[in-house]
């Protein structure tokens, strides 16, 4: 990573988010540890993917970055400004630099508004421009995302899922953001439509230099679209590296299990590869295991994993949160 700080558009520093859980009168207060010390820096024009299973904190991360949820600790830095404690008014001004596209295009568009008003809304909020100018910009935005400008007069219910997601992307683009957080942007869409939306996102990035924080559970898709990948487990980043390095090898036992479990659409490849089948479920984030959080499911756990929680440390070209990652012969092949 030779680029200077100036290239960083969005930074998370040691982000923590704990949600209180309802508890009885004489019971101690308990918390869901949704995020526990998550840090990363997203560079201009880059795609950083956050992958992990339910409960790993990836969606909470998106909300904390957007300040839709207030982080319990840590900082969010957008274009050099610390926005963690910014008041609502000042925050609104900065939000134009960071937009979000949600998973469900059926829920994220107001059904009563026309497509034109939906796409024009951020422009109306952030810029003082005439109605005609807004209309012109909306037409241009719709064309950018591959929709006929005539769609401006239609309503969300008249559109297919893929078309709605294009509208959500047009709305995010309306104020020329530096960062778009994509929270599972294609998982509600059919396979043939997913490819259309992914290609659109890539074309826009090449043209406009937008950075994407791409949250997904689809590992094959993540390998395709991202420059770097961060794997999360129970509120922590357990491995972060260039996508190319990740393709070559995975060092954290959880990353290995996660990527090996993803089904591959190739009967030969699936017969060849060794799957690591984890036992048990993800533990509750209310009471995450002490020591290494993955130790309750790790096929290679040792005594030290319970006694001492591993730090996120540099191993070769990446960051890994495991005591033994990078050691010769670790992890031993599973039988």
């Amino acid at each position: 990573m030779s680029e200077g700080r100036g290239d960083v558009v969005l930074e998370a520093v040691d982000l923590v988010k704990h949600f209180p859980v309802k508890h009885g009168l004489f019971q101690p207060a308990r918390h869901v540890h949704a995020l526990d010390g998550v840090s990363f820096a997203l560079k201009r024009g880059e795609t950083l993917a956050i992958v992990g299973e339910s409960g790993c904190g990836k969606s909470t991360l998106a909300k904390c970055l957007m300040r839709l949820d207030e982080p319990t600790g840590g900082r969010v830095v957008l274009l050099g400004d610390d926005i963690t404690h910014l008041a609502k008014g000042a925050l609104r001004g900065l939000r134009r630099h960071m937009q979000i596209v949600f998973q469900d295009p059926y829920a994220s568009l107001n059904p009563r508004w026309s497509i034109g008003s939906i796409v024009a809304d951020p422009i109306r909020l952030h810029e003082k421009v005439s109605r005609d100018e807004r209309r012109r910009r909306v037409a241009e935005l719709l064309e950018t995302v591959g929709l006929d400008p005539g769609f401006a007069d239609r309503h969300p219910h008249e559109l297919s899922g893929g078309q709605r997601q294009r509208v959500a992307i047009a709305r995010a683009l309306a104020v020329n953001p530096s960062v778009i957080i994509c929270d599972e942007p294609v998982s509600a869409l059919d396979v043939s439509i997913q490819a259309q939306v992914i290609n659109l996102l890539k074309r826009l990035q090449a043209r406009l230099g937008i950075a994407y924080l791409f949250i997904s559970h689809n590992l094959a898709l993540v390998e395709h679209i991202s420059d770097r990948i961060a794997v999360m487990y129970l509120g922590q980043v357990v491995e972060l590296a260039d996508t190319r390095s990740m393709r070559r090898e995975l060092l954290h036992p959880y990353s290995k299990a996660l990527f090996s479990a993803a089904p591959v659409a190739d009967p030969d490849a699936s017969a060849r590869r060794t799957r690591i089948i984890l036992t048990g479920d993800v533990p509750s984030p209310v009471d995450p295991p002490g020591g290494c959080r993955f130790r309750t499911r790790c096929p290679w756990k040792q005594d030290r994993c319970a006694a001492e929680s591993p730090a996120l440390r540099a191993v070769g070209d990446r960051l890994v949160r495991c005591h033994f990652a990078g050691d010769a012969g670790f992890p031993a092949p599973v039988s």
Partner: protein, 325 residues
Amino acid sequence: MSAVLEVADLAVRFRTTRGTVNAVDGLSFAIGEGETVALVGESGSGKSTAALAMLRLIADPPGRIASGRILFEGRDILGLREEELREVRGGRIAMIFQDPMMALNPVYTIERQIGEVLALHAGMGREARAKEVVELLRLVGVPAPAERARQYPHNLSGGMRQRVMVAMALACKPKLLIADEPTTALDVTVQAQVLDLIQSLKDRFGMAVLLITHDLGVVAETAHRVIVMYAGRKVEEGTTAQIFKDPRHPYTKGLLEAAKWEEVEGAMLREIPGAVPSPFDMPKGCAFSPRCGAVQPRCRESAPPLAEVAPGRPVACFVAQEGRP
């Protein structure tokens, strides 16, 4: 291999205020003993409707099985009386769904729900049932099964609920398991566990599986044969190896290309343009023609019938039938 299930010319129609929809149209296929057949398609392809029709679970009205035969162990499901049908449902044919929370009753304990199946289909007494339930939960890999049996669905995680549903489906050692997107709501590591479980139980009891999914990865890993559906019709069928290595229908080809994420690093994905047509506004001729790269004038005139392009390879495409690429 003798067929456990034989479906011939099945048609399911839905009556709506906007007109009649042919959700499934002229579907025929067979499943052999111990075989896993995958019904693959996108939303609106009719795959889930077809699955529901196997057990006559289509809500009527608005739906109706308009024609066809569904032969299970030699008897036509469509001709069965209600009592006979009840014996088949959950007994000889079991079904699991995408969302276990919808299929489990939230106010009954796990023991009571699985026990009900055993009482209905196996006529077991109370004590035998309690023992069998714990045994079944152990079989599907639920830890502390005796304790779990006394809990309610909301006490369990998504993966555990799906296991309970599998346990319930297997309670009567069915001959056929219909699994409608059984792992779509699960995380990948849990999905791997559940698919593994279905596979091992299949081997153990020699059960056949009809798998309904949109996930080509899951298909590649579990199915023997694949039926590709588009807009209510079967457009192609073949063994899993044939479909993945030598797809003949342009839609199948496009679907496989669109999912080849990892092989085109940096490059754009191959898209299928457009979207699945609305059932109220079906194109004339081949339903795929507006999105097809190989389209010819006659594809827009008449719908291509299914015809074998090679032994055991029916394909509904004029271009594929002429053997052109």
